[in-house]
Amino acid sequence: MDINRTLFLFLTTMCAFITLSCNKEQEGDKINAASTLSVGFQNSPSMALLMVAQEKNFFVSRGVNVEMKEFTAGKFALQAFLGGSLDIAISGEVPVALSILQGNQFKVIGQVVERTVNECRVVARKEGTITEAKLYFSKKGRKLATSFGGGPEFFTYNFFNKISIKESEIEIISQKPEDMPATLLSGSVDAIAIFDPFAKIAELQLGNKGITFTLDDIYSELYVIDVKQKTIDEKRELLSSFLKGLYDAQLFIADNPVESKKILMKYTKLDKIIIDEIWGDFVFKLCINQLFLDYTSAEAKWSISKENGTKNRNIPNYRDILYTDLLKEVDSSLVKIK
């Protein structure tokens, strides 16, 4: 009898607790939901516009609350976004190209960088006096780690194409970006192809035991703002405010680089030396430009050629996924596509 009573009391208490907790959450949600956008992003210096806008309250002053959710890579933010957990994802354009190719549906309303320069590069363990990439990778048994499904993988493809090395001659290993510097340092791989800050971290850790191979005129990643059509229909005003907040951040960064770098250090927890060194890799400008269309088409072609007989042989028209109206409302000169 006692056990039954105790069990009943316990279960009743648990149910009450759960019900109260749920109610509390819902109340909190109701207040903020109307004016909040959840944004998933890769915690890296490439997100300077977002970080500065949040830190300097540009979003709030424009009438939108932004809830920032960190991921170790933009592609993971995109996945969460596709799963419905986020209003916006800011990711590289490669995951966007691949995702659209496989039939997912969403829009791109802007880029948070106009372009990047050598943001993605190959960092390798030095061997003797070899300084030429082709010579280095001609050696049998080379291992290179890269981040699959993102810009680094596409960069790797372009890199080896440029130096006329067949990818099949290299063992290409899939790894998470944050694991690559340690792997390179331990000697498990000969080289990594990855974006900043991980490329910079690896360079600093290797010191004069490392060598960096860069090729200026090949691919360098873009970062784009992904939104669902439904969000555009239901939260258009908030999205407009969001873009205006980013534009305010762009102007601030141009006038206040030192303070902007400090904000980046705060959000990314990276040292000043790393921020200083990679700052020049990025052009922090809100826009939509032709690079996005050129890159995404090339990436779709590459993905199709990689897969043996993939079901989807048509390259999507990536112009169809661009939604430029919101950006034009901020400043029509920000949209630079042919």
Binding site: K75, L82, G83, P95, L98, S99, L101, Q102, G103, N104, Q105, K143, A145, F148, G149, G150, E171, I172, I173, S174, Q175, K176, D179, A182, T183, S186, G187, S188, V189, S303, E307, N308, G309, K311
Partner: protein, 261 residues
């Protein structure tokens, strides 16, 4: 004793209605657009991805790569787990020395130590086999420890009376007396090994089922990802069935204790 073929036949007959029902539900959800096929592909897409993956030769490469990592990791982890389990289960001093530390480490999720393993061993096969062995060690250790600790004392007294030497007592009394527990440990370790091969291949690999699942996922090829998951799950199930069959042939008396309806 029933032949393996008829056992398999009976098994498939039993699961067939459930399987057909599952297939109908799956296809209906996709064909009626209840679920977006970009995130939940049709069974046909998955079957097609499975076929293409097989015919490219990559499936065999991936299965072999993961299988031998699992096999080696299982063997090492199981053997060490059983050996240490007997040491701590039967020798008080060893248990005082090793028991608390093993219990502490056992509480750590094996997945959490992967970054540490990368630093120590890199991302080669040594690292993967180490992480699998590490994870498999603990269920084998605890089950063997309990089995060894609880060997009825009368068995050991009998062996002592019959003047059996230590080796004979271990091989012919202690080991079989703990067999049921050891088998439980081995069977618990098998799915853990498959989980760890997936996790360790995520940390860095150029072949394997975990690698294939990961890169398919990253390329938004959900059909191929599901195909790889099916193969991984199937391998895990088959491994358990095969290992259990082998064990039951080595320890035939365990079959007699199967009193299920």
């Amino acid at each position: 004793m029933s032949r393996p073929y008829s056992t398999l036949q009976r098994y498939f007959q039993r699961i067939l209605p459930s399987l057909i029902f599952f297939i109908i539900i799956w296809e209906s959800l996709v064909k009626l657009n209840i679920i977006d096929k970009a995130i939940f592909p049709s069974l046909g897409s998955v079957a097609s991805a499975l076929y293409l993956w097989f015919s490219s030769g990559e499936m065999a490469r991936d299965i072999i790569a993961s299988s031998w990592r699992v096999a080696l990791g299982l063997v090492i982890g199981t053997f060490l787990g059983i050996a240490v389990g007997f040491l701590t289960g039967r020798i008080k001093f060893t248990n005082i020395l090793l028991g608390p530390i093993i219990q502490m480490i056992r509480s750590l999720p094996p997945v959490a130590i992967i970054p540490l393993i990368i630093i120590w061993f890199g991302i080669g096969d040594t690292a993967k086999i180490f992480s699998i062995s590490f994870a498999v060690f603990f269920p084998n250790w605890i089950n063997t420890h309990i089995g060894a600790e609880n060997i009825p004392i009368t068995y050991l007294w009998c062996a002592k009376l019959f003047k059996a030497n230590k080796v004979k007592i271990f091989l012919r009394v202690m080991l079989p007396a703990s067999a049921q527990h050891i088998i439980a440990g081995i069977r618990t370790g098998i799915p853990i090994a498959f989980i760890m091969v997936y996790v360790s291949e995520l940390a860095g690999a150029s072949s394997g089922l975990g690698y294939q699942i990961s890169i398919s996922h990253l390329a938004y090829r959900i059909d191929k990802m599901i195909a790889a998951l099916i193969v991984l799950g199937f391998l895990g199930g088959i491994s358990d069935y095969l290992i259990t069959s082998v064990i039951k042939n080595i320890f035939p008396w365990t079959k007699l204790q199967d009193n299920r309806l």
